[in-house]
């Protein structure tokens, strides 16, 4: 639900709840009871659900991921001026949505997807960021899954019919041969070398 609509729900709920707070006597009548039930139960629960949904949606934003200090070099790596850098070339050429760049390739790793374990990890990351010590450099919990590449590339003519990929397609699809660690597309974020590479600046 768009943020404006969430705010509309919040305002309507505040008005009804405020009416009950200011004039609790209205609940003596049947209409007042219904109003109180709406303003103190139905609408707050609804507002909470749509608010949670809004937060989940916003957590997919690149700016959300990069708001943690430990993620800064990974954000910087998206601006490397070298097409061999896989995340950079995807980000700069909009092969992934620029405003959801991290989420698109790391869908099993975010706070709100990938099951309960991923959620607990996400909360642990927040703890490590503000109260503990974040690991540096950070590491993926599991090897990068080809699934994250294939949810865009699968079915694309250039990928499916290209001689290089078609020869090893079975191994790619079964995740037996990793796209990023088998020596084919192994230049990924490489954050330890960012001070040695040229950076790209988008035209203002």
């Amino acid at each position: 639900m768009p943020t404006a609509l969430v705010y509309a729900v919040l305002v309507i709920t505040v008005v009804i709840a405020g009416l009950v707070v200011l004039r609790p006597g209205i609940t003596v009548a049947r209409g007042g009871k219904i109003l109180a039930f709406l303003g103190l139960f139905i609408l707050p629960v609804f507002a909470g659900v749509v608010g949670l949904d809004n937060h989940v949606e916003r957590s997919k934003a690149t700016t959300f991921c990069l708001s943690c200090h430990v993620m800064e070099p990974y954000g910087k790596s998206l601006h490397v001026d070298d097409p061999a850098y896989l995340p950079a070339t995807h980000f700069q050429n909009h092969r992934v949505p620029a405003d959801q760049a991290c989420y698109t390739c790391h869908t099993d790793y975010t706070l709100y997807t990938g099951g309960i374990k991923a959620k607990i990890r996400g909360l642990h990351h927040i703890y490590a960021q503000y109260l503990g010590t974040a690991e540096h450099p950070i590491k993926l919990y599991k090897p990068f899954n080809n699934r994250e590449c294939l949810h865009c590339h699968l079915g694309a003519r250039s990928f499916e019919q290209g001689t290089t990929h078609s020869a090893i397609m079975v191994d790619i699809k079964s995740n037996q041969l990793s796209c990023v660690t088998s020596g084919c597309h192994d230049t990924v974020h490489n954050v330890s070398h960012l001070d040695q590479v040229k950076m790209w600046s988008p035209a203002q």
Binding site: T3, V6, Y7, L10, T13, V14, A17, G18, V20, V21, P24, G25, T27, V28, A36, G39, L40, F41, P44, V45, A47, G48, G51, L52, N54, H55, R58, S59, A61, T63, F64, S67, C68, L111, H125, I126, Q129, Y130
Partner: protein, 70 residues
């Protein structure tokens, strides 16, 4: 209106005021967190806003099902 009914009404009114105030406080916190796209805003939304709203809802429901004995 009998004395017992007045006591009940006063009790319910007090609980409704408290529940309403908590729900409103929770909604205000939710509104503020929606301005800020940051992991901490989510924590504030759940940990503070959610808690206040849940407390308000629980107080309201308890007042409905558990009125004072007259």
């Amino acid at each position: 209106m009998t004395e017992a009914t007045e006591t009940n009404t006063g009790f319910i009114a007090k609980k409704l005021r408290l529940a309403g105030a908590l729900v409103i406080a929770g909604l205000v916190v939710e509104g503020v967190t929606l301005w800020w796209n940051h992991p901490l805003s989510f924590i504030a939304f759940i940990g503070l806003g959610g808690l206040l709203m849940a407390a308000g809802i629980v107080i309201y429901l308890l007042a409905l099902v558990n009125p004072p004995k007259s």
